[in-house]
Amino acid sequence: MAEQMNVVITGHVDHGKSTVIGRLMADTGSLPDGKLDQVKALCQRTSKPFEYAFLLDALKDEQSQGITIDAARVFFKTRKRHYIIIDAPGHIEFLKNMVTGAARAEAAFLCIDANEGIQENSRRHGYLLSMLGVRQICVLVNKMDLVHYDMRVYKTVVRKFSRFLRGINLREVPFIPVSGMQGDNIVSPSEAMPWWKGHTVLSLIDTFRKESAPLDLPLRLPVQDVYKFTALGDDRRIIAGTVAAGTLRKGDELVFYPSGKKSHVAAIENFPEGTMESAAAGMSAGFTLSEQIYVKRGDLAVRTGEKKPQTGNLMRVNLFWLGREALRRDKDYFLKVGTERVRMRLVDTNKVIDASSLNSDGMKKMVERHDVADCVIAVQRPIAFDLVEDFPQTSRFVIIDGYEIAGGGIIREVLRDKNAEYRDRVMNRNLKWDMGNITRFSRSERYGHKSALVLVGGPEDKRKIAFAKTIEEKLFESDIKVYYLGIESMMAGLDSDMAIKRDGISPDDRDEMIRRLAELSNIFVDAGIVMVAAVPNLSWEEQETILTSISPVQVITIWIGCSGDSSVNTDYVIENPEYSEKDMEAAMEMILNKGISL
């Protein structure tokens, strides 16, 4: 089977990308029979001079504007391999389409008009290609016919643009002088440029190296989903995901981050029959585990003993912004990295760079459309990822604003936050956990429901406790294994060693009490029980400590009373502390149907 490669063609608007591709297709006989005649006939009908670019401009609105608005794909082959040529738009309005086209390329051509010279998007596209991870680039100095095939014009472009490329760490980039319109140096050497002894576009394309799949690297497998089609008569619990790096093998001991829980690969499943011994980088795999642990979408599977991924919720990143509205600090976003999706906020902007000139503005505190920035972001709960220098695949993220992908970037550094130390302890605890022979899944099946922690938060108020106790009662009536744990009981028992002063609890003691509550909750939920606990003045950090401890088991947070200045993430808010029966029903409905149903 022939090798396949995606090559993108980029550059400033009107610098002749579509013409170069059209010419490449036509001169190598890569067009379907009749296509060329069909387009020529259409041009004749509409009294337009024929252009090679029209071959690609299949859409009505695109032809009427005369510019490429989206990344179109055409298929092309040489004796060496099959190519998908992606025509990326050069107009700034369509930068998101350029990114879409370029991100799936393994190599790129960047077109610069010899007559017009280097333009804003010549530089911007160069910068984005480097950030998107496209390392093989060839610059086509196009429209040489318009400058009378003058070698000096060509050399000037080469000198100026090479300097720019070196500035963004792209070295030894080849250049070719071409004319898409006249067909010079596209498929055959140009007679008009006898001074050029180098490659044509056609001969150069085969020199792009096929990046070998990262098979020898440590394993990285973002968990995409966990399948159990019991209703369809299938009892296998299959962990599904695409191998991002390395090779997954039967018998491997895996650690799932950020929880740090471990288990062995029992079998790598296959369809229609049998199992496989291994699954290499790039493959969509699915496997069962020997020890049943709780794994969820967003976890990152790594082999024991290999380089650990990073875990954390505060990181330094490089990003580019495509959204109509600027990225700003006072707004919630979602971050998607691998298969993980988590709420995110911009914490700080270190540097905002205008990608077209590489001028930076250290004062700008937001990231506007088409800007590139170095900034710090925080996510709501700790997630697992890698740094770009270790594993580019698992360091890449996108940011969702509303319903849209509004930006993308790479993670450069993980920053320590308040909970970092506790996270390490939990990971260590999970690695050492000595599990009995009954798994959490067997318990869920026997009990008829999943376990969960129902946290009732809010201002200090006795009615919160009454609410929690009623929830316990109602769940018990619905045959749920449930337990109400009072904070008072904790203080009198587990926490009796701690100095509790008459005038309140010191912050350090409070942290330790929350940690103990988190550890105790972990044992309860591991035992298959729904635990209900009311915590007065629950803070965002405390909620995170609890989430860290029992992850990935569900925590359902209900807030009673004024939630105005609280940053706690709630599943249900009852503003009026004199809660009604309706509120109670809604809370029950949520716990039963969304939280703990099998």
Binding site: R73, T100, F271, P272, G282, I405, G408
Partner: protein
């Protein structure tokens, strides 16, 4: 990794992303080779199961073998099968074969309209009841928010601009000029109420890839694709009155692949046997914006 495995892996990845992100998901099955490959990929992605309904838009002018084949696989593979139709247009004979509509109008009524109202649940859907062995009106009338479709970018011009995850508004319209960015295998899985997302796992496949994969995986296909002795076969399937067989003696998958690679079809567009494509310059694209597959 060879090219087919590479294509297969990305398609499976996309199917799994769709399943993980959309609560009301379905897959369109046209009975043709492409969407049948898609169905096979779904069974591969979910290890023998298809965890969402398959939807077929029945124009009632389909070549009869297609419907027989659909119901045979539905039974054998225990598929969650649904079909929808434009009952009003059929009852009042507003169709091209009845002489009351031109080809494009007929396509719009029997396919685009039927599809829109089947997906949004406004018209009845018929679900195959495996116990009873027949189709019955489905009680579930919820709108589908994710629709998996087997289009390929090499089929015709407008399709080469598609995204893997492509948003549509309430009228099924496709805004070609303003599509979401899509990179690093991160797709548009967030959508506003009243809109839905089309998912295209086969975008990167070519016609040859499809046949090579059918050969490699031994996927059952409709007999209409093969010459049964008449020297003619169908290259693309659709409604009887508007789809014509091509002159070809390819009797099996291997012979079709050879014909595509070096034979007489190497440079002829696949849909050349589809009459509606030729009706007007951008007829198909106009229909496509309105939801036609």
């Amino acid at each position: 990794m060879d090219q087919l495995t590479q294509l297969e892996s990305l398609s499976i990845h996309i199917l799994r992303e769709a399943y993980a992100n959309f609560r009301n998901l379905c897959m369109l099955w046209s009975i043709g080779k492409d969407s049948t490959v898609l169905l096979w990929l779904a069974r591969k992605a979910f290890y023998g199961h298809v965890p969402f309904p398959l939807v077929h838009i029945d124009t009632h002018f389909k070549i009869p073998e297609m419907i027989k084949y659909r119901d045979r696989l539905t039974r054998e593979w225990k598929l969650p099968m649904l079909y929808g139709e434009n009952k009003a247009a059929l009852n009042t004979k507003q169709t091209f074969p009845d002489g009351n509509a031109d080809r494009i109008t007929c396509c719009r009524l029997l396919k685009a309209e039927a599809l829109k109202n089947t997906l949004n649940g406004k018209w009845p859907r018929y679900r195959f009841n495996h116990k009873a062995g027949k189709y019955q009106v489905d009680e579930n009338t919820e709108a589908f928010t994710g629709v998996i479709v087997g289009v390929r970018s090499d089929e015709e011009g407008s399709r080469s601009k598609e995204r893997y995850f492509s948003p549509r508004d309430g009228e099924n319209s496709w805004d070609v000029g303003d599509q979401p960015p899509e990179f690093w295998n991160q797709f548009k899985t967030d959508f506003a109420p009243g809109t839905h997302v089309r998912v295209h796992p086969l975008l990167d496949w070519t016609e040859t890839n499809i046949w090579e994969y059918i050969e490699r995986e031994s996927i059952p296909t409709v007999s209409l694709y093969y010459d049964q002795g008449s020297g003619r076969r169908y290259r693309s399937l659709g409604c009887g009155p508007c789809t014509h067989p091509v002159e070809s003696t390819a009797k099996n998958v291997r012979e079709i692949i050879e014909e595509l690679q070096s034979g007489k079809f190497a440079n002829i567009a696949e849909r050349s046997g589809r009459a509606q494509d030729k009706e007007d310059g951008g007829g198909l694209e106009t229909l496509r914006r309105e939801g036609y597959m």
